[in-house]
């Protein structure tokens, strides 16, 4: 993975000093909260009622075990023994004291990390494919480009006060695992027929109140031009993006208002002045950065079965885990292992300090000391020998990290919701828990197969509800009760689509039954091994709608949902939307 040189380290160290002084000025009231707010936000620090939440950047979701152990240390020393991995491949801590934040940043800087631009109206942490470098379907490794863009966007002087936040995602495989079509800019690294490397550039995608699939602004941008082209897009956006209405300030609204053709014309016009200029990427720089992303020293192992087949036949739990959580590696004697942070009863994406240490030990022992965070809020060990899988599985299971549910119903993406977020209309995590409990049977989940269920507590869609196969969103009602809207047919990746709302909203207690009915329709309608999303696409939402609303859904049922335990935290409130 990338390692800091003296320049990277110096910039991060100077940031710590700068931020330490900002905090000092805030604490001494030299800075009003209103002025401090954008400063702390550009450093990932959100105000809560009783504490702060700090979001730390994990560039393109890749980290070393030293860095993960630092998270465990931060969780123990400054927080309440746990951290929360996010859909943007970062980590957040919920119980931070403002006074401690400069020291936390200094701790992070000692392991080549920071919290720069993890929030605020600036270019955010660049996200990428969690299987980059090892995926069997990879065309070009996106990580060097993600790192080059990380450096380019870090403290970019002109784009620190954009109309709104700005997210860039890069993917380099046949299958898009980075959801590039729902980012402000999505980059797909590819090769043209001559074998040259370049990008298909998407612009104006996004979730939130107005979910939009990004449009292609450039079919093939040769790799040298990636920074100048993005600079051109940002400059147009910085000047013409709306600043009068927070809900209309994202670039997607500008692209929509101008139309992609006119937007493209303006960008290309701006780009004409930059093309081939100083911002053009050189092969020396690309090679330098790429030199950090070489393959680890794989052992040359004959592709034998290592006893996996026989162990699988006698151990069903292991067999399910192999089926769901272990993915093919481009080297056949190795495997990619997904450690699930979605154990039923836990908040999706939460990991304790102890678990972080355990994962670090696993990665050191079995996966060259590195790991990834996925946008589905799980952890990945990318380079595990097939022959180590049984041992690894046993240790992972002992640490509650081996739920065999990757890509299944209980692999829920959920935003923090009403217990934490001031903007929420409804709770998210308790709903995720009730759903996971209702469908806890693994046999049932494996029968249903691949499905994505996403929950957001409001229209801001931090839980990516609009691209969930099943999307659940807390909606505003006059009575201030919790109501949820259900949508079907959303999807990210190669065939991105926005889900359609099936009809009037439901109460908290009705939602599990609604899902049950939806799944029944799927089981009735599916043709052979057709995936849920494919059935929805083929038959449309009508049969689902008919079934869901056919008879009244009584509240509560036999599930004692009202007795459901509240969150383990008392009342932190924050707004991840910013």
């Amino acid at each position: 993975m990338y390692r800091y040189d003296q320049y990277d380290q110096q910039i991060v160290n100077e940031r710590v000093a700068q931020y330490r002084d900002q905090v000092r000025r805030r604490l001494s009231n030299e800075l009003a909260e209103e002025e401090f707010r954008p400063l702390r936000l550009q450093n990932g620090l959100y105000m809560q009622i009783h504490a702060y939440m700090l979001r730390i950047a994990v560039p393109y979701g890749l980290l070393s075990t030293t860095q993960l152990r630092m998270f465990a240390h931060i969780a123990r020393k400054y927080d309440r023994d746990y951290g929360h991995f996010t859909t943007r491949q970062n980590i957040q801590f919920n119980w931070i004291k403002l006074e401690d934040t400069p020291d936390i940043l200094a701790d992070l800087a000692s392991v080549e990390m920071h919290a720069i631009q993890t929030s605020g109206n600036c270019i955010r942490n660049i996200t990428s494919d969690e299987f980059a470098g090892v995926a069997a379907d990879e065309v070009v490794d996106p990580r060097p480009y993600a790192e080059i863009l990380r450096q380019w966007s870090t403290f970019h002087p002109e784009f620190a006060y954009l109309p709104r936040k700005f997210k860039i995602a890069v993917s380099g495989a046949e299958e898009d695992r980075a959801a590039i079509a729902v980012h402000d800019i999505g980059l797909s690294v590819r090769k043209n027929t001559q074998g040259e490397v370049g990008f298909r550039v998407f612009v104006g995608g996004g979730l939130g109140r107005t979910p939009i699939i990004g449009k292609v602004i450039c079919e093939f941008l040769p790799w040298q031009h990636v920074m100048t082209y993005i600079e051109a897009i940002l400059r147009v956006y910085n000047q013409y993006g709306r600043r009068d209405n927070i809900y209309k300030a994202r670039i997607k609204i500008l692209v929509k208002a101008l139309g992609i053709e006119e937007f493209k014309r303006q960008v290309e016009n701006e780009w004409a002045a930059l093309k081939d200029g100083a911002g053009t990427l050189t092969s020396e720089e690309l090679n330098r950065v790429s030199s950090y992303f070489t393959a680890p020293a794989y052992e040359n192992i004959a592709d034998t079965d290592s006893g996996l087949t026989s162990f699988k036949s006698e151990n069903k739990a292991f067999a399910s885990w192999m089926q769901r959580n272990v993915k093919p590696h481009r080297i056949p004697s190795y495997a990619i292992v997904v450690l699930s942070l979605k154990k039923t009863g836990r908040a999706p994406g939460d990991a304790s300090a102890e678990q972080m240490d355990a994962v670090a030990d696993l990665a050191d022992r079995f996966s060259f000391g590195e790991l990834r965070i996925t946008h589905k809020q799980n952890l990945v060990l990318t380079d595990v020998k097939q022959s180590d899988l049984i041992t690894l599985w046993k240790i992972a299971a002992a640490n509650n990290l081996a739920s065999p549910n990757i890509g299944l119903l209980s692999d829920i993406i959920s935003c923090p919701g009403a217990e934490f977020c001031t903007l929420a209309n409804a709770r998210s995590i308790p709903l995720a828990k009730v759903i996971a409990e209702r469908f806890d049977s693994l046999d049932f989940q494996h029968d249903i197969g691949e499905i994505e269920l996403n929950i957001s507590g409001c229209m801001n869609a931090c839980g990516h509800n609009s691209v969930g196969h099943i999307g659940i969103t807390g909606v505003e009602k006059k009575d201030h009760e919790e109501w949820y809207q259900v949508s079907l047919g959303g999807s990210k990746g190669n065939e991105s689509s926005i889900g359609k709302i099936i009809g009037p909203s439901f109460s908290f207690d009705q939602v599990p039954e609604v899902i049950e009915r939806i799944l029944q329709v799927y089981c009735r309608e599916r043709i052979e091994a057709e995936r849920f999303i494919d059935t929805v696409r083929r038959v449309g939402i009508k049969p689902f709608k008919e079934s869901v609303y056919a008879t009244e859904i009584t509240d509560g049922q036999e599930d004692d949902v009202l007795a459901f335990k509240p969150a383990q935290y008392s009342e932190p409130l924050y707004s991840p939307r910013f």
Partner: protein
């Protein structure tokens, strides 16, 4: 007092802002060193051309192209930041310097605060009028927050990777 070329200096320019009942056409531009709004320049160009020294300021929602052919008419061009979080002024400065080749004084006015100074200087501002309720000494410190930067802008014509020798991953086995 303003900050100019990294030092605190006296300033004898007056910034003209239109009052409620004034228009760009009818406003009386006083004698002396005045920085007029872009609109006033456009409306009263003929009279203003007679002046020895003139400044103009541009609002964040106005276009720098409007000044493109007149850059040599001004001793100072100022860019107004109605709120420090309004980032359009950074691109305006970039255009004036990098695209139109303006070399005279470029001054940041309005909600100009210490923590924006570093970025402001990078996009070509060489003069700053920090918000009057703030300590100007303190604002000056904002110019030196970082000693190195990654990307090219007006201050550094080359990005870091073209300016210095950066070593890649040493193969150590």
């Amino acid at each position: 007092m303003i900050i100019k070329n990294k030092t605190i200096v006296d300033d004898d320019w007056t910034i003209l802002r239109l009052a409620q009942n004034e228009t760009a056409k009818n406003v009386m531009v006083p004698a002396g060193k005045i920085i007029v709004p872009l609109k006033v320049w456009l409306e009263q160009r003929e009279q203003l051309l007679d002046r020895n020294e003139l400044g103009v300021w541009i609002a964040s929602d106005e276009r720098p192209e409007m000044l493109k052919d007149d850059l040599d008419k001004f001793t100072v061009i100022a860019v107004d930041f109605p709120k420090f979080s309004d980032g359009r002024g950074y691109s305006i400065a970039y255009y004036l310097r990098a695209r139109f080749g303006y070399t005279g004084e470029l001054r940041a006015i309005g909600d100009v605060l210490r923590d924006q100074m570093f970025y402001l200087q990078r996009v070509g501002f060489d003069a700053f009028a920090p918000r009057p309720d703030r300590n100007i000494q303190d604002a000056l410190k904002g110019l030196t927050d970082f000693s190195e930067v990654y990307q090219a802008s007006v201050d550094k014509k080359m990005p870091l990777f073209r300016r210095v020798q950066r070593n890649g991953n040493a193969v150590d086995n």
